[in-house]
Symmetry: D2
Subunit: 341 residues, 4 copies
């Protein structure tokens, strides 16, 4: 059965497994105080042109969002996010669990609009009763978004300017950052994220790692006693070496970019096939996720030979489904699915 | 200067102060374990026809919402509320502070629609990824709403049915319940709230008390060890007698209804005056709050002789303002304001 | 029946009730933004010789401890307190509810020892794994303590020095501060608390008010957006005027001191009676609480004519009980109890 | 340099790495809904003779303690633990972060005494003011303890009885459970933990896994919507397969027991060497941790050739240090260290 359900269905890139084997008996310090983590951080700083950044490795996306947001916000602040943002909808209330409100603004194909964010913050401060309200303390975006769309350089710059003007950090969730960087239609390069956000994370889990996300504090310092706070969240891995090792491999000889390009190339081929066969696209995007509106009987039929994700109901007779490619997608699987359409 | 800013500008009803003086040297147990509280609870149960209800007295509205919601929700649940609900907007994140999401649905003149609540809960359970989402665990409404509007018996019954069908409690914030009960156009009486909600509170602070709200658990039991939980929230008053005493007075000889009717009668007179002079109403309501759209220069002018609340910007040249009457509003003040218009 | 159970059994001082009546129809702003609060704050600053202090009024002791501690601590910090401290034992976990550990050190008649606090903090920082531990972020003391004992000026100075040397604030719970100030054997005066602590609160509930505590930030600034944080804790009273009014009365013409002296004079008389009759004291203290070890049969007997508090089991045959006097204790009641002994 | 610093210095057992390679391209469902997890759970249920248990895999020890404790406790409850317990001291306040108090009782070589736990709970309920205190809602023990000591079957049975009698669950932290099972002097076997606790976890991180702990709900059901709660804590691994896979390998053909026995055999050899050379033991224990009191100069000297852990200051001139063996300890390293002593 063909499987395009998501980008975390397989294990990890072989070079990572290979390196696990090679380094297995090296004895290291625990909790991220090892050579692998140091090495990986250096490589990331080079790749993103941010020599002064501070980098911490965490295990997963929700964990990263929860820790970054809750350690940066003051107790009386909330985080602004798109209604469709991962922190708004699909993290089981992990942000609220730490005591903070997610202040949802309308998304535009999953993206926040800088002008709307600005207006929201201005309206807040203009309200004479704002001490009875949650203070907007941070802006959360994802890139690519949950719909696979991308901010343009102009859009990201505008958001960054708005955040700077209000003195609040801009945080970017890059769970699929590799696929954003490799997209054919992006005008943003790695260094841009370090200069146009205050903190962002580079997703490993969905881009070839077993697990792991690299948090990059580029525009603001890492919160005080961050190790203690990570520990307090139950997120400090004893064998932190595995986080470092994986990012070390991914950022050696451009592996992260290379495998991301592979996923995009598979997605583009698939996208062309859907297009040729007259399928309706739910959203225009050029990263590794393809959102298609299927007539329900057609969906039923297709699901016998290929696995994909249910996204949402479109109407009585149609459903939005998602096909995801990844670093691990086989070229033959793409061809087979294309043939099936 | 005439003052219609809100319904908590004055002290407390004289009968309450009188009773304070009479009972001052009686020695009682602390923390709500006194005769006054027991007596008040009995009177409330009689007034709302709920002999089996369990009643606890708390000091203020946000405190009450925070404690009721956080003690009834399970950790993985959130509370559904209208976007304009007090818990959504004007409690400084007090619900999120306890770890729970406020799930805001569109309000209709401040009210939730039973069908929309039902659809929201159904959509949640239909989503196969709902374990990654916040569970809808409770419905919060206010009556009167923040816009002074009222649920009809049919609307409240429908909401109650939806909640029952999903096994989640319906909680009603009655900060201004007296003014709702006394409204000329309501078809809901006191006993209805006890039978059509699972828990509600009777507002004292805005209806003649110094402070105090009476929480009535009518459809579900009071949470286990509620005293301990109130204490844990920092909300257990040592001299709980003052809470009991005030509600005892308010629910003796129909005082609560009587002073509420006074406020409504003042509001209706004022409403008629606004109407006669051709003012635009922002919202149709018949409780103690009147929302008027003023041209900005007119607002400026009026504000020299009368105090009222800024509510929200309407457009470039207009503003929504609020005039509130209360148990303490003087008839002459109403006449003077009417003359000014 | 004679009642010496506690110091919050009666209502409030008559002058407070009188002032309630006089000012009842004055219209004021809500939420503590009124003249009464401003006036009371000025009087307190004068009484405690701290013209630059910032003052906020809250409703009760546990609420005050919870808010002061949780708004001053950073997320990774805990508060040091005596094992017998109110925050350690008798607040139903209100501090932990806000996410912070109470780090209990041994108490000496209810008091913390400066040297032991210093050693505790030094040991923490000396531990190379302290990033895996809770950071000591604040010191909590009560004065009088839960055992009615008092710090000497030398002891308080030493604690203050230790806190300064570690850069952490010293916070003093003054739920019964009046009784401490009026004690015959104290060498601390009002101004000392403002110079030897960073923040303290002046208890109203147990010293003649209906409710209310005045928090004085004397050595550190009040936390940012404190009103919003108080609101977020559900503790912002709509009619904040009542808090201001009560402290205004208490700090007019030395009323707070006067009624405190009355309680102490009653306690000293009672203490002398216990002493004369050969009763065993559980602890030496000269404030308004008297701790006596009673043989169980004797306790049984005495409890038929007088009410007092069970404190703790002493041994098989003896029990520690507490007799409390207050601003409201009648001289005749003291004589009657003395006669009973 | 010889390294006996801890039991998580190396990578993972080779069979785990081997299996990673073999299964890498198998496509599985995410979030623990995969075959590996199901398989591993079955093997664990067989190994611990608890066919009806419910099992969840988590990434690390502090995370596991935080999630198990916070999801089982009611909001007004705390967890009883030894003063030296990991949750009391070395988890950076992770339990308090979730709103719950750790109620520390004296440890006896790291162990709780059943009688003392019983007395503590009884005293709590006997206190008429216990609604103002934290309710004891759970007992936490570690086995082996933080000092490497072990409960006997009689001790564990007694604790279990006490917990049952008070209706609160007994939770056992088995971060090093393998080493406890393999100890020469234990009278507890795998099945005992399933029958004498309500929930326990089997440590993987310190016993040959890259990461991972298996939580076994044996005496009580797994909390409702546990997946959602794990997600809410930021602890739901997308590629949950890696957790299942590792435990599958560890519980195939007795690998977990085998590698634990190896560590114990190394430790016993080392222990004999220390004994023969006249070193002072700080604590008597027979698991994989050895606590030795070294004269400071001796410590200095030894640290030039071997790495070990500083544990605590013993006195002016002596220090307690820890030597840990593990599944990865080389026999030659043991011999070399023995020769060095």
């Amino acid at each position: 059965m063909l499987n395009f359900v998501n980008d975390y269905s397989e294990g990890a890139h072989e070079k990572i497994l290979q390196r696990l084997l090679e380094t297995n008996y090296i004895q290291t310090a625990g909790y991220g105080e090892d050579e692998f983590c140091r090495e990986a951080a250096e490589k990331i700083k080079a790749a993103f042109s941010c020599p002064d950044a501070e980098i911490t490795f965490l295990a997963g996306g929700t964990q990263t969002n929860q820790i970054v947001i809750s350690t940066l916000l003051r107790p009386y602040e909330g985080v602004i996010a798109a209604e469709s943002g991962h922190v708004s909808l699909h993290e089981a209330g992990a942000i609220e669990y730490t005591g903070h409100k997610v202040m949802a603004l309308p998304g535009h194909d999953g993206k926040l609009d800088a002008g709307e964010v600005d207006a929201f913050v201005r309206t807040f401060y203009a309200d004479e009763n704002h001490e009875h309200m949650v203070f907007p303390g941070m802006v959360y975006i994802s890139h690519p978004t949950e719909y696979g769309t991308l901010y343009t350089r102009a859009e990201l710059t505008a958001l960054h300017e708005v955040c700077k003007s209000h003195g609040i950090p801009l945080y970017m969730d890059g769970a699929r950052l590799g696929y954003g960087l490799a997209a054919p239609d992006t005008d943003l390069c790695a260094a841009d994220f370090a200069s146009l956000t205050d903190v962002f994370y580079i997703g490993g889990t969905k881009v070839g790692a077993m697990f792991g996300e690299a948090v990059v504090f580029c525009g603001i310092p890492r919160p005080a006693h961050f190790t203690a706070q990570v520990k307090q969240h139950g997120a400090l891995l004893a064998k932190g070496r595995f986080l470092g090792l994986q990012f070390d491999v991914l950022f050696t000889d451009g592996l992260y970019e290379e495998i991301s390009r592979h996923a995009i190339s598979c997605a583009e081929k698939l996208r062309a096939a859907f297009h040729d066969k007259g399928y309706r696209f739910y959203i225009e995007s050029h990263t590794n996720q393809i959102f298609i509106i299927l007539e329900n009987a057609q969906m039923e039929h297709l699901s016998r030979s290929a696995a994909f994700s249910f996204w949402e109901r479109y109407d009585e007779n149609h459903t939005v489904v998602r096909f995801a490619t990844s670093w691990a997608t086989r070229a033959e699987a793409v061809d087979e699915l294309a043939a099936l359409l």
